[in-house]
Each structure stands twice: as C-alpha cells, then as structure tokens.
C-alpha cells in the first residue's frame, strides 16, 4: 500500500478530537462510568463494545450532551463541553430507535437540522439531495417514515444525522434492528460512508463481530471502565485480560503455574503431565498463576501424534458443525474441554474425525497468549 496506515493514536504529534479526562458518572449510588480517561482521534471509527449496563451508552450520551459527567472533563476539539447543551454541539447522534419524526417526510427529516441552523432553501436543497444520494434514498424522499422498510429507515436516520456535517457522529446500536444479512451489508455501507465523509464515528454496540468489522479501534468495556483499547486484530490476537479474550470470539482458557525457561515459559496445568510451553511479551515470576488464552482455530487436531512441543491427547465429545467451520470439543486429561476449530475445506463424506475418536491436539508456542488475570 502506498498510503501510510491510519493510526493517529501512535503519533504523539496528533491532537485527539475527543478527550475523556478522569470522567465519572453516577446515577444515585450506581456508578455508570468509573474514572475513565480516553482519547479519540479525528476520522477514527471508534467502537465502544461491552455487555449491557457496562456504561457504553452513558459515554455516548455524555458526548451528545444528554448527560453531564459527575466528575472530570470531556473535551471536544480542545473545548470543555460540560456547559454546552446538545443543540449547540457539533455532534450528531443516530439513535437506536432511529427516532425519525413520524409526521415529517424523509426529505423533511433530513432537512430538519439544516432548517434549525437557519440555512436558506438554496443551501438546504442540494445538501439534502446529496444525503439522499449518499444513502441511496432518492426514490423515497416524499415518503413518511412508516411507509419505508427498516433498512431504509436506518439509512434515513444516518442521512439525517450526517446532514449537518458534524465533526463527530455517534451511533447507538445502529444496526440492532436489522436482520443478519442486511446488517452485514449495512456495516460495509457505514464504513464506506465514514470514509467518504471523513467524519469521526463513535459506535456503541454489544455485537463484537460488528465492532471488529467496522472499527479502526475497539474499546472493550466492563462495569464503567475500559478494559482494553486496540485495533481489531490486536484485540483478538493480544487480549490483555481473560475478560477481553473471553468477550471477543471463542477462546480456550487454561489455568496454570508459570515457570520461566530460557526460551519462554513452561506452564504446569495438570499434575503429572508434561507442562505446556509458551512465549510471552509479559514477564511472569517463577510459580506465578497464569492463564493461557488460545483461539480454537489455532489448535490443530489430528489422529497421529504430532512433532510439536505442545500436544495433548484427548477424546472428541462434541462436534459443532457450522458449515464453513467445525468446532471439536475435545476432553483432555483432568476433565478439561479444549476446543479446536478446522475449516471444512473438504466435503463432509471425506472427513474422518467423529465422536468418541481419540485425537491429538497441538499448537505452536506462539499460538497462545499468557495472561495474568
């Protein structure tokens, strides 16, 4: 690629567009956001990911101006926005329910924000037309929201929130109401529009696949705190905690005790068995408790004993057939289940593994990530 990779967060010269500085938000006794600091850069597609009640929606509503932080500061483009009401912020939001005005046509919905700015007709018309074109809604301009489909409504909501060309667009579970197919298609449309308009997007979602697909960076949240912020590949391949590893995708977690060796760590996991071996960027002391996180697709499964250092014999007790993939649940000594995933590159009739088969599981020493907690 000719252009440099988009990663403003690695460049100390870059000024962040949004800064959370020690933000705490309480609702009565409940702490929704717990002393949170985070920078978000211009033109990022930043995903807030977490289970419901983790504080991600509260963070978004504070950016929009519907909630004020109890403590700390939120800066947008260097300006403290604590006293700025929602209607004075260069921030627009796309609501989970879309919140389209039912008494106005698609055209008037999109023009709503521009009219409130007091723009002239000559300015509003081309802008609305542009938004309709961007979201491919030209044919539906004169319809009311109840006369179009869910996917179209979602696009109207997007067009309406983009019409004022905000510095920052907030998307609250934008695809939650769409079915799986439409959702995927819309994810790519969103990325496309984000690229075309150059707007900074902050998306709130509980769907990890969605976050991984669209975002430049993902923040995994839990109980009002951000656990890890990283690019999707980093989040997946180098989770910083068992919580993140477990939240994103499928994972095997093996608990053990670390013993440093010259070329990495030996991990004692079952009494009387050969220890597992892993390399780690984090350092562990001798005898420290550790967790080995290992993605199922990185575990090889076969009937013959492999020549690798990490190998375990076990018995297939379950097979989850997903069409393109199969996940084998293998019971290994100590009663533990390890999942191994293979791509089904061959037709079903030519595959040999089945229930109750004795198999060997193996993985390389860099396949697993060693975690402290």
């Amino acid at each position: 690629m000719a252009e440099t990779v988009f990663a403003p967060w690695t460049d100390p010269q870059q000024k962040p567009l949004i800064q959370f500085k020690g933000v705490t938000k309480r609702f009565g006794d409940f702490i929704a956001i717990d002393n949170l600091s985070q920078d978000i850069y211009a033109q990022e597609f930043f995903a807030l990911l977490g289970p419901s009640g983790c504080g991600k929606t509260t963070m978004m509503r504070m950016l929009a101006g519907f909630e004020a932080p109890t403590e700390g500061q939120i800066l947008i483009a260097g300006q403290d926005v604590a006293r700025v009401p929602p209607n004075k912020r260069a921030v627009n939001m796309m609501f989970q329910s879309y919140a389209l005005f039912p008494h106005l046509t698609v055209w008037d919905n999109i023009a709503f924000g521009l009219r409130r700015e007091g723009k002239s007709k000559a300015e509003i018309e081309p802008r609305v037309a542009e938004m309709l074109r961007l979201t491919r809604l030209e044919r539906f301009a004169r319809r009311k929201p109840h006369q179009i489909s869910g996917g179209q409504r979602q696009r109207v909501a997007l067009a309406r929130s983009l019409a004022k060309a905000p510095k920052l667009l907030l998307l609250d579970e934008p695809l939650g109401a769409l079915d799986a197919k439409l959702r995927q298609q819309t994810q790519f449309e969103l990325m496309d529009i984000q690229e075309k308009t150059g707007t900074t997007f902050v998306i709130v979602t509980h769907d990890q696949e969605e976050a991984m697909t669209v975002a430049s960076r993902v923040a995994v949240m839990d109980e009002g705190r951000i656990i890890q912020v990283a690019t999707p590949p980093e989040i997946y391949e180098q989770p910083n905690s068992v919580y993140v590893a477990d939240f994103i995708g499928d994972v095997n977690i093996i608990e053990g005790v670390a013993h440093p060796q010259a070329d990495g760590y030996d991990i004692l996991w079952v009494e009387g068995r050969q220890p597992l071996h892993a390399k780690s960027t984090r350092s562990f002391s001798n005898g420290q408790r550790c967790f080995l996180a290992m993605r199922p697709e990185k575990v090889a499964i076969g009937t013959e004993e492999p020549e690798t250092r990490n190998k375990v014999k076990g018995r297939i007790i379950d097979i989850a057939y997903l069409g393109n993939l199969s996940t084998y649940h293998v019971e290994v000594p100590g009663g533990r289940i390890i999942k191994a995933q293979t791509a089904n590159t061959r037709r079903l009739s030519r595959r040999t593994l089945t229930w109750e088969d004795e198999v060997w599981l193996s993985w390389t020493e860099t396949a697993a990530v060693m975690l402290e907690e």
Binding site: N87, N92, S97, A99, F101, H103, Q147, S149, R160
Partner: protein, 272 residues
C-alpha cells in the same frame, strides 16, 4: 350461538330506553305546537323561531359559548403543560402529591369546587361575571385535559425529543416542532372534552356567575322553576345536538389517531 336472543333484545331495549327515553321525549315535545308542554297539538317549529327572538336566552347562549371557548383553551394549555411536567420530569420531590393534586378535582364534588371558588373570588374582590366563570371552568376542566394528554405522552418515544435537540432545537422548539404535532390528536380531544364540560356545567357556573353574565344552563334552570315552557325544550334539543356533535367529534379524532397509529405500526412491521 344466537347473537340476539329474546333476553338480549329485551335487556338492550330496556337499557337504552332508560338512557334515552327522557331525551327523546324532550326532543319530540320541542316540536309540539301547543303551549302546554304535556299536550300534543301537532308538529311545529314555532318554538325554535320564538327562541331566536328571546334576547335573554340568546345572550346566555353567547356567554356560554364564549366561556366554553376561552376556558377550554386555557385549560388545554395549562393541562398540557401539567401533563408534560408530570410525565417528563421523572421523579422529583413531591411528585405524587403534585399529580394527586392535579387529579383531585376529578372526584371533588362540584358544589365544593364552586363554593370554594366563590369564596376565593369574594376574598380577592373579583366581581363575578364572565371572567370568574371562565376561571372556574378552567380550574375544573384542566385536569381532564391533563389526563387525556398524559396518557398519550406516556407512550411517546422520548428519543424523538432528544433527536430534535441533537439536531439543533432549543427545548421549546423541540416541543413545538416535534412533540406537539405528534400529540396533537390528544390535545384536540382534550380541548373538545373541556369545551363540552364547560357547556354542560350548571353547579359551578351558578356559584361563580354574577348578574352581569348568566350561562345557558343557569338560564334554563331558573326558567324551569317558573314552569317548563316549550321554548326550553327547543333550546335543550339544540344543546343536546351540540354536545352530541362535540362528543362524537372528540371520540372520532382520538379513534382516527389510534387507528392511524396502528396502521402505521403494522405497515412498519410489514416493511421490515
């Protein structure tokens, strides 16, 4: 199963007769040619003609309409505001007390409401007349408006208002441009209800009316004490007509709104 068994027909007839026979008799006798109310002397509309010549009745009717329009309009504004605060403000200190106090006049005996208003007007030295009737009617009809409007506001999606704010509306503009158009059917039927209530009222009006202004129900009541005249029958028939039209319109407005909403929801479900 037979839908209309003999028993059903009889009970239905009895029920409706009980409700409407007096009014039907009144309407029939309003077209009686005779001056004696209880003696039928052939069909005539002469009492309607004479009614139009009766200045006192016409004045009272004019007062009644002005009172009804003014008080229902004020009641609609105040009632909508109260409903908005009750539904929107969430929990605040004394909320239960506040909402209880808004709805209390619904169950308060009219005599007490009338009497207390009378005492108030005397206390502050306000001369009784059309103004005091308007104030009194506003007082008791705004809680009805508030009930109608707040039931609509409860099902109102709050994010619509947030979206309006987000797109640059001040809170007042958001209410005017988004909330009000959407809850308009409820506001209109609240207004019609208040209008009808004001038109009907005798008790509170008789406490708060003065020599300068008399409403139609008071006029009729005092006329009847001197004996029922066919003119009153004619007048009452007209009032029944007006009230019926008002009630039917109010229910049609709210029914149409709910049918429309349902159709829209169904269309939305189909479309997704």
């Amino acid at each position: 199963m037979k839908r209309f068994s003999a028993f059903n027909v009889v009970s239905l007839t009895l029920g409706f007769a009980f409700l409407y026979l007096p009014m039907i008799i009144l309407v029939i006798y309003s077209f009686n040619d005779s001056k004696l109310v209880t003696v039928w002397a052939g069909f005539s509309t002469r009492w309607y003609g004479e009614l139009l010549q009766n200045e006192a009745f016409l004045d009272a009717a004019w007062v009644t309409i002005r009172v009804a329009v003014a008080s229902s309009t004020i009641a609609t504004v105040l009632g909508t505001m109260a409903a908005y605060v009750l539904v929107r403000a969430g929990r605040f200190h004394g909320r239960t007390l506040f909402s209880g106090m808004i709805y209390a006049p619904l169950v308060m005996p009219e005599v007490i409401t009338g009497l207390s208003l009378l005492l108030l007007f005397i206390g502050i030295g306000l001369d009784r007349g059309i103004v005091t009737i308007i104030l009194a009617h506003t007082t008791f009809s705004m809680c009805y408006v508030s009930v109608v409007v707040s039931s609509r506001l409860v099902s109102f999606d709050r994010s619509l208002e947030e979206a309006a704010l987000d797109l640059g509306c001040t809170p007042f503009a958001a209410f005017r441009l988004v909330t009000l158009p959407i809850i308009a059917p409820a506001v209109i039927s609240g207004w019609l209800l208040a209008f009808t209530l004001s038109l009907d009222d005798l008790v509170i009006a008789s406490f708060t009316a003065g020599p300068s202004a008399t409403t139609l129900p008071i006029k009729i009541f005092s006329a009847v004490r001197l004996g029922v005249s066919p003119e009153i029958n004619a007048l009452s028939t007209i009032m029944i007509g007006i009230v019926t039209v008002g009630v039917i319109t109010a229910s049609l407005v709210s029914k149409r709104a709910s049918v429309k909403q349902q159709a829209e929801e169904q269309a939305a479900v189909r479309a997704t």
